[in-house]
Amino acid sequence: MNKGKNLEKKILDRVYRFETKKTVGEILLKGATFLFLGFTVFILGSIFYEILKEQTTFDLLEIFSEDFEVIKKYFFETVYIFYLELPKIILILLLILISIFFYLSWQLFKNFNKIKNKVISLIKFWRRKI
């Protein structure tokens, strides 16, 4: 009977070791990815803002302080000029990174319970061992 218990214990040890490595690895990787994405989006966003500021592109937004008739008359022209002045490559990069960020956030939200349950199970197991 003891032999059977020992073997079961060995199996569970291996399973929990495997799962610990996997879960910790995933958490670290996802954490690093989030940090990297957040940092990159912040840097690119700052560069994007500085370029628009230097080009005085934000002055185009002053049209919205004019009368409605003026806005109506020059709206599409203003939007077109705004579009021409946008740093497009940086904008595309920003949009891609923000999309990835939101996708990963959604994945995290979807799997939150699963990750939480795993971490709780692992903590309980290792506490029993200690």
């Binding site: 079961e8 199996i11 495997f18 319970n113």
Partner: protein, 167 residues
């Protein structure tokens, strides 16, 4: 104490509650151990293969269909582990091997060239034996063929006699 089904256990493990895997280990370790013990004499190797089988099952658990029974799947993994073990040791399963605690499953697996012998059996006998080798219980076989348990056992016994005569 609430009895939890294998299906519910698998669903809980897929949901991250990996402590439920302990129930599967406690329930099936002895069966997998018995299967492998009839094929390998070295105790340490038997234990290693049993551990490997459960680790592989755990790693595949997210792909496992919880509606299916666990034991046949575990048996298949254990048999694959045995094949890899034999390949690594370059061992062959001998025809005349003295098995300890020989059961029906290990009897039918003894035949190296199974197909030649199984051709002498009727279709129903052959199907039942294949299910037995795959790890299904007599009860599950009886349910599938819509026969009584005793009838299934008689058919398997008859098939066994035929295989012994024709060996």
């Amino acid at each position: 104490m609430t009895i939890i089904s294998d299906r519910e256990i698998i669903l809980k493990i897929k949901n991250g509650e990996i402590n439920y895997f302990e129930i599967i280990v406690k329930k099936y370790t002895s069966k997998i151990y018995q299967l492998i013990k009839t094929k390998i004499l070295i105790k340490e190797d038997v234990e290693d293969l049993v551990q490997n089988a459960f680790i592989k099952f755990y790693k595949a658990i997210n792909r496992f269909n919880e509606k299916l029974p666990i034991l046949p799947y575990l048996y298949q993994i254990a048999k694959n582990e045995l094949k890899m073990y034999y390949r690594s040791k370059k061992n062959f399963l001998p025809l005349k091997e003295n098995f300890k605690n020989e059961d029906e499953r290990s009897f039918f697996e003894r035949f190296e060239r199974k197909e030649d012998y199984l051709k002498k059996l009727k279709k129903e006998e052959k199907e039942m034996i294949m299910m037995l080798v795959d790890g299904f219980s007599y009860k599950e076989i009886a349910e599938k063929f819509k026969k009584s348990l005793n009838t299934v056992k008689s058919i398997v016994r008859r098939a066994r006699r035929k295989l012994i005569i024709n060996k």
